[in-house]
C-alpha cells in the first residue's frame, strides 16, 4: 500500500486520501461491477478456449451480482436514494444458483466436445458449416 | 477491547480498532501454530503407543515434548526446492492459500460467548464454505508441481472434498434447524445447561448424524482413512511430493488447523460448545450480570471447555488414523454417495419430523421445550427484532395468502 502511494504522483495523494476517509457509496460498487462485467465480456469474446468462455460468463454474472447487492444494501444507501431491499439479495442468490447450474451443463457439453474433437478450441466446432 | 483503548487509554478510534484487530489475529494465529506444535507431538506419541513403540523420548526432556519445535527449526533450515517444469507462481502461492483458508475460517469460530473474532450471522455457513477453499491450495500444488504423483493426489482430493461437502452440509444443517439460527454463538448458547441439552442427545437422529458428521469431517480434512491425496504407499507423498522446508510445513499447519477447526465445529454444533456437561457456573450462582470479573472468569472456563472438546476430537482423529487402513478411491466415493449422503438425508428428515411429533420433548425436563426454539426465530441476534414480534403473524398471514395465489396460477 505504501509502495503504491509512493509510486503515485503527488496529485493522486488527495484522491487516495479522499477514498480512504470518505464512506463508500453505491457508485463505488457500480464501478467494480462495471469492471467485472467488461472483463467478462472481453473474456467471452476473446478466448478461443471453451473453458475461458465459461469463465467469462461467470465474471459477467458476478458483475451483475455486485450491482444487485449494492442496490439492495442498507449500508450503502445515500440520502434519499431508493433501495431494492431484500429483493436484490434474493435475486443475487438466484443468479448464483443458476450460474452453478449453467456451469455444470456447459462443462458437460465441453466434455462431450472434447471427446469428439480432442480439443477445447471452440473455433474447431464447425461441423455444421455449409 | 477497542472500547477500553478508546475510553481509557484515549487512542483515536481507528488506531484502537487496528490494534484490536491485530491482537485478535495474532491470538488466532497462535492457536493454529501452537496447536499444530502440540498436535504433531501428540500424534507422534499416540502413533508410537498404538504401534507399541515409545516415540520421541529425548528432545527437550523426558517425553520428547520439544520434538515438534526441533522439527520446525529443521524445516526452517531446509533448502526450498522447486521442480524444473513447475509453474513457479502457483507453486509458491499454493501453501499460503491452503493456510489462509484454514486461518480465515477461524475468524468466525467462537471460543466462548464473547471470544470470537467476528460474530457472523451466517457463522456455520461461513466456516464450512471457507474450509472448502483449502482444497484449492492442494489442487494448485498438485498441478503446479509438474509431477504425476502430485497431480494424482490433487485430483483425488478434488473429487473427495467436493463430494463430501454434500453430506457434511446436511449434517451441519440439523443443529442449525434445531437452534433456528446459523449463528454459532446462538447455537452454542441454546445448548447451555445439563449435558442432556446438548444436541448430540437431543433425539436419536441427531445422535446418528453426529457420527456421520465425524466421518465426513475426517474425509473433508483428508485424514486417514481418507488421506488418498497423500497416500504414501502409492503416490510417494501425493500433492506435496515436491515440497520441502517451510512451504511444506505450511501445508502441515493448514492440515492441523483444519482438524482443530472441524473438531471445534463438532463441539459447537453437537457437544454443547463452551458449556460443560454440568452447569457449574449457574449452580454456583455465577451468571450473566453477576459482575465483569466473574463473567470473564466463566468465559475463560468456557474457552477451556471448548478447547478441551476440540482437542479430544483431534485425538479421536489420530486414534482413527493409526487404527484403520486406508480406503481405495472407489471405496471413498461409495462411502460418501451410497452411505453418508442417504443416511444424512434420512436423519435430517427424521430430526425434522421429531421436532413436529414431540415439540415438548419425550421426557419433560430433559429436553428443551420447542416453544423456546421457535422464539429463537423471532428474537435474539440474527432473528427478527423483539419489537417486531407482534406484527409478524399478520405479515406472515398476508404473505401466505399471496404465495398461495401465486402457486394457484401455475396449473
Amino acid at each position: 500500500m505504501s509502495l503504491l502511494a509512493a509510486g503515485l504522483p503527488v496529485a493522486a495523494v488527495p484522491l487516495v486520501a479522499g477514498l480512504l476517509s470518505s464512506p463508500v457509496g453505491v457508485a463505488h460498487y457500480l464501478v467494480v461491477g462495471a469492471i467485472l462485467f467488461t472483463a467478462g465480456v472481453v473474456c467471452m469474446a476473446l478466448k478461443r478456449n471453451a473453458l475461458g468462455v465459461l469463465m467469462g460468463i461467470e465474471l459477467v454474472l458476478n458483475g451483475a451480482n455486485v450491482n444487485f447487492v449494492a442496490f439492495s444494501s442498507p449500508y450503502l444507501r445515500g440520502e434519499g436514494a431508493a433501495s431494492l431491499g431484500l429483493d436484490g439479495q434474493i435475486i443475487a442468490l438466484f443468479v448464483i444458483l443458476l450460474a452453478a447450474a449453467e456451469a455444470a451443463v456447459a462443462l458437460a457439453i465441453t466434455l462431450n466436445f472434447y471427446n469428439n474433437h480432442a480439443t477445447v478450441d471452440i473455433d474447431r466446432a464447425e461441423d455444421l458449416k455449409g | 477491547m477497542a472500547d477500553f483503548l478508546i475510553n481509557t487509554v484515549g487512542l483515536p478510534e481507528w488506531l484502537a480498532w487496528t490494534i484490536t484487530a491485530f491482537v485478535a489475529a495474532a491470538l488466532i494465529l497462535n492457536v493454529i501454530a501452537g496447536g499444530a506444535l502440540v498436535f504433531i507431538w501428540a500424534e507422534r506419541k499416540i502413533a508410537a503407543r498404538i504401534q507399541d513403540r515409545l516415540g520421541p523420548t529425548r528432545t527437550g526432556g523426558r517425553f520428547g515434548w520439544l520434538q515438534s519445535l526441533a522439527d520446525g527449526i529443521k524445516l526452517l533450515a531446509k533448502e526450498d526446492l522447486m521442480p524444473e517444469g513447475a509453474d513457479g507462481m502457483l507453486f509458491r502461492l499454493a501453501p499460503y492459500i491452503s493456510f489462509c483458508a484454514s486461518f480465515c475460517a477461524f475468524i468466525a469460530l467462537p471460543f466462548a460467548f464473547d471470544f470470537v473474532g467476528q460474530r457472523l450471522n451466517v457463522g456455520v455457513f461461513f466456516v464450512v464454505a471457507v474450509l472448502g477453499l483449502e482444497v484449492f491450495g492442494v489442487i494448485l500444488a498438485g498441478y503446479a508441481s509438474a509431477s504425476k504423483w502430485s497431480l494424482f493426489g490433487a485430483m483425488r482430493e478434488a473429487a473427495q472434498v467436493v463430494s463430501y461437502e454434500v453430506p457434511l452440509g446436511m449434517c451441519v444443517v440439523v443443529p442449525v434447524m434445531l437452534a433456528g439460527s446459523m449463528d454459532l454463538v446462538t447455537i452454542a448458547e441454546k445448548q447451555a445447561g445439563w449435558i442432556t441439552n446438548w444436541y448430540l442427545f437431543h433425539d436419536p437422529f441427531t445422535f446418528v448424524i453426529f457420527w456421520v458428521y465425524v466421518t465426513c469431517a475426517v474425509a473433508s480434512v483428508n485424514r486417514a482413512p481418507f488421506d488418498l491425496a497423500e497416500a504414501e504407499s502409492e503416490l510417494v507423498a501425493g500433492f506435496h511430493t515436491e515440497y520441502s522446508g517451510l512451504r511444506w510445513s505450511f501445508f502441515f499447519m493448514a492440515e492441523y488447523g483444519s482438524m482443530f477447526l472441524v473438531s471445534a465445529l463438532a463441539a459447537l454444533l453437537f457437544l454443547g460448545g463452551w458449556n460443560g456437561p454440568i452447569p457449574v457456573a449457574t449452580l454456583a450462582g455465577l451468571s450473566e450480570g453477576t459482575g465483569d470479573t466473574a463473567n470473564y472468569f466463566v468465559r475463560l472456563i468456557g474457552c477451556g471447555n471448548l478447547l478441551l472438546k476440540a482437542t479430544l476430537g483431534v485425538l479421536l482423529m489420530m486414534w482413527v488414523r493409526w487404527t484403520l487402513p486406508r480406503l481405495r478411491i472407489d471405496q471413498v466415493m461409495t462411502t460418501c454417495l451410497k452411505y453418508c449422503t442417504p443416511i444424512a438425508a434420512a436423519m435430517f428428515a427424521g430430526a425434522m419430523l421429531w421436532q413436529l411429533a414431540f415439540p415438548g420433548g419425550v421426557v419433560r425436563g430433559l429436553s428443551r421445550p420447542a416453544g423456546e426454539i421457535r422464539e429463537g426465530w423471532l428474537e435474539g441476534p440474527g432473528g427478527l427484532s423483539p419489537g417486531r414480534r407482534e406484527p409478524v403473524p399478520q405479515v406472515g398471514a398476508a404473505g401466505g395468502m399471496e404465495s398461495q395465489e401465486v402457486v394457484q396460477v401455475v396449473p
Partner: protein, 234 residues
C-alpha cells in the same frame, strides 16, 4: 511512509476502515478479473477467477449481504473448482495447453471493452443519488428474512420509498422452480458427461495413443468427473 504522506493531507483519525477494506477487495476483484482475460494458461485463469470471486464475496460481506457472500464462497468456489479440474484434465496434453489469441483480436477487444466500460461508468455516475455517500446506520443483517422470503413470507421492513406493501410478495414459487431446475440440471449433466461405450475408437484416444500413461490419468479423472459435476451443480 504512507501515514506521513497522508497526514500532511488529511487528519489521520479520519481513516475509514470500511472504505479501506472496500478498496482492498475491489482492487483484488478487478485486478484478478483483468488477469483472467490476459492469462493464457487455463489453470492460471481459473486461479485468478477464484481470487476475483472470493474478493467479490468480501465485497458482499462489506455491503451487509452476509448470506449472499457465504453462498458465493460455497457455490462459486465449488463450481470453479470443477472448472479448474476440468482445465487440468482437458489440457493435460502439450498441444492443447495454450490456445493463442491473435494480437489484432486483442487490440480490438481492448478497444471494444474500453468503450463498454466507458458507457457503463457513465451510466453509473449519471444518477445523482447513487453518488451520495452512505448515511444510514442500520441494524445487523439477518439471514432469517431471506429464509422467510424464500418460503413466501415477507418479514422484512419495506424499503424506503416503496409505498405499496401489497406488491411485496415472497419467493416461494421461484424457489421451487430453481429447485426443480437444479435437479434437472443434475440429471442432465450426469447424462451428458457419462462414460459412453463405443465400438469405434474416439478421436481423443487416437490422439493420445502415442503417450501411454496420460490416457490412464485421464480415464481415472473422467470416472470421477460425473461425481464432480453432480457435486458442483448442487
Amino acid at each position: 511512509m504512507m501515514t506521513t504522506v497522508l497526514a500532511s493531507v488529511m487528519p489521520v483519525a479520519a481513516i475509514n476502515w470500511h472504505s479501506v477494506l472496500f478498496l482492498l477487495f475491489a482492487a483484488v476483484a478487478c485486478a484478478c478479473a483483468v488477469a483472467v482475460v490476459l492469462a493464457e494458461n487455463v489453470v492460471r485463469m481459473a486461479f485468478y477467477l477464484v481470487l476475483s470471486l472470493a474478493a467479490t464475496a468480501g465485497l458482499f460481506f462489506l455491503a451487509g449481504a452476509e448470506f449472499v457472500g457465504a453462498m458465493q464462497l460455497m457455490i462459486y468456489v465449488g463450481g470453479t473448482l470443477v472448472l479448474l479440474v476440468f482445465g487440468v484434465m482437458l489440457t493435460a496434453q502439450a498441444p492443447f495447453v495454450a490456445i493463442k489469441t491473435s494480437s489484432s483480436d486483442r487490440v480490438l477487444a481492448g478497444m471494444v471493452g474500453a468503450a463498454l466500460l466507458a458507457v457503463l461508468l457513465q451510466a453509473a455516475f449519471r444518477v445523482e443519488p447513487w453518488r451520495r455517500p452512505a448515511t444510514a446506520a442500520v441494524a445487523a443483517p439477518a439471514a432469517t428474512p431471506i429464509g422467510m422470503a424464500l418460503l413466501g413470507v415477507r418479514a422484512d421492513e419495506p424499503a424506503a420509498g416503496v409505498p405499496a406493501a401489497a406488491v411485496r410478495s415472497g419467493y416461494l414459487l421461484p424457489f421451487e422452480i430453481v429447485s426443480i431446475h437444479l435437479l434437472v440440471v443434475l440429471v442432465g449433466a450426469a447424462y451428458l458427461a457419462r462414460a459412453k461405450r463405443r465400438r469405434t475408437p474416439r478421436a481423443i484416444d487416437v490422439a493420445a495413443s502415442s503417450v501411454g500413461p496420460v490416457v490412464t490419468a485421464r480415464q481415472a479423472a473422467r470416472s470421477s468427473a460425473s461425481a464432480l459435476v453432480s457435486g458442483g451443480g448442487r
